[in-house]
């Protein structure tokens, strides 16, 4: 199991808190770094200077202040330093165009956040098991 952190891009503090709790409940102990808008996420992943974050998994909301999630995804895929990082779009919407655009831009997965917390815990567990244990990530360049 990888020790690298998880980057959670989420502007709603309640959702961030519940997501962290869902990981904790599933005994996933990777550090969770929260970026509260798209700009912050890009600053962590592609900083002008200083150490860049190379998370094991990026959980990306679509509707975000400043730079929205789809634009963040586009820039992650455009830069060879972040191109191979797994990105799971974790959002409220299941609008077809959001799903399609996400995959077109290179999302690895699209998950609609369930309203019922127990279902959300189950979804986070599945994501954690798959992306942190089952999946073999691309080597860090």
């Amino acid at each position: 199991m990888t020790e690298r952190p998880i980057l959670l891009v989420e502007d709603n503090p309640d959702d961030a808190l519940l997501t962290v709790r869902a990981f904790t409940k599933n005994r996933i102990r990777n550090e969770i770094v929260v970026a509260t808008d798209g700009e912050q996420a890009l600053l962590r992943l592609l900083p002008a200077e200083g150490e860049a974050l190379r998370p094991a998994l990026i959980l990306l909301d679509i509707k975000l202040p400043k730079i929205d999630g789809l634009e963040v995804l586009r820039r992650i895929r455009d830069d060879e330093r972040t191109r191979n990082l797994p990105v799971v779009v974790l959002t409220t919407s299941n609008e077809e165009r959001d799903v399609v655009t996400s995959y077109t831009l290179g999302a690895n997965s699209f998950v609609r956040k369930p309203v019922v917390f127990e279902e959300f815990v189950a979804a986070v567990n599945a994501l954690g098991v798959y992306w942190l244990i089952v999946n073999e990530p691309a080597p860090l360049g």
Binding site: S93, V115, E118
Partner: protein, 383 residues
Amino acid sequence: MSTGTRPPVRVGHEQLMALIDHTSAVIYMRDVDGHYLLVNREYERLFDLHREDIVGLTDHDLFDGPIADEFRANDLAAIARGIPLQVEEQAPGEDGMHTYVTVKFPLHDEAGHAYAICGISTDITARKRAEEEVRRLNDELELRVRQRTAELEASTRELDAFAYSVSHDLRAPLRSLEGFSQVLLEDYAGDLAEEAQGYLRRIQANTGRMAQMIDDLLHLSRATRSQLRRDRFDLSALAREVVAEIADPERSVTWNISDNMAAQGDPHLVRLVLQNLLGNAWKFTAHTPEPVITVSVHPQSGVDVFEVRDNGAGFDMKYADKMFDPFQRLHSAGEFEGTGIGLAIVHRVITRHGGRIVAEGTVGEGAAFRFSLTPAPADWELR
């Protein structure tokens, strides 16, 4: 006409003048310099002049410069061509400018030189004005259609933005309500009386219900705004897929789904219809000892009529019309769950296809929904 026995009739100037005086066309003759040689009675009537006063004058004496110039130019063109020339000309009339279709032709002397020009003008103003009116109405209609289309597009865009915002923004607070209620139940169960925990579960049940309503409303809006496709598809296969989604193996229900039911329509939208109709049938047979749900097709004067029938709770026929309205429910939430939007979605999808739907039910015996997916003649009635 000639019989051979009658004396020959001499046709001279008088007779020819009588002929041209009794036509509704305007007839005139001018010399090559434009001086009038002759006009008919219609010409006199039209311009309220006597022929004696006109002879010797030119059009420049009778009409405004630009009009006279145009007449003269057409005269010269006819002389130059040497053969009859047809042109449209404008001349002032009692009620504004009139349009004439005019034939002009030169008269030649024995040496072949043109010495006069004849004109025969027919008033086509009424036709012109009618044509103009048709063109104006067409332009107006087209403009109105463009305006309406733009308005419709704008309202669809608004609806789209609204639905998008609903799907994003209304669900987020529900997740907090649901999630933190769960946190309280998990982390503070020891501090909470059994009754308090029950209230939290009620909060959770209601947030779940509201989430379901939001999803149903989104489906309703999608059924309205998405582009309608017309594909041929296998409704039997679609119905079986939907059954696999909704059927819970803990309940035993007999499903009779006819084979090879071919349909024409939008499979994504018809899936919503089947999800709701079969979902209802499933739901309302919950208390039925031997539930049977049937999906079949019955051609009715050339139109395929699909039917979803169950032997469940049924409904009172006096509510049959109301049940397709949004948020209309015929059962209490305690009896059967539901948001009251499902049949509104069904109705919307079928209406968009140009089809019809009718519901038939008997309390305690079951319900049947029959629908068509293709436009039918106006006098066609779904039975």
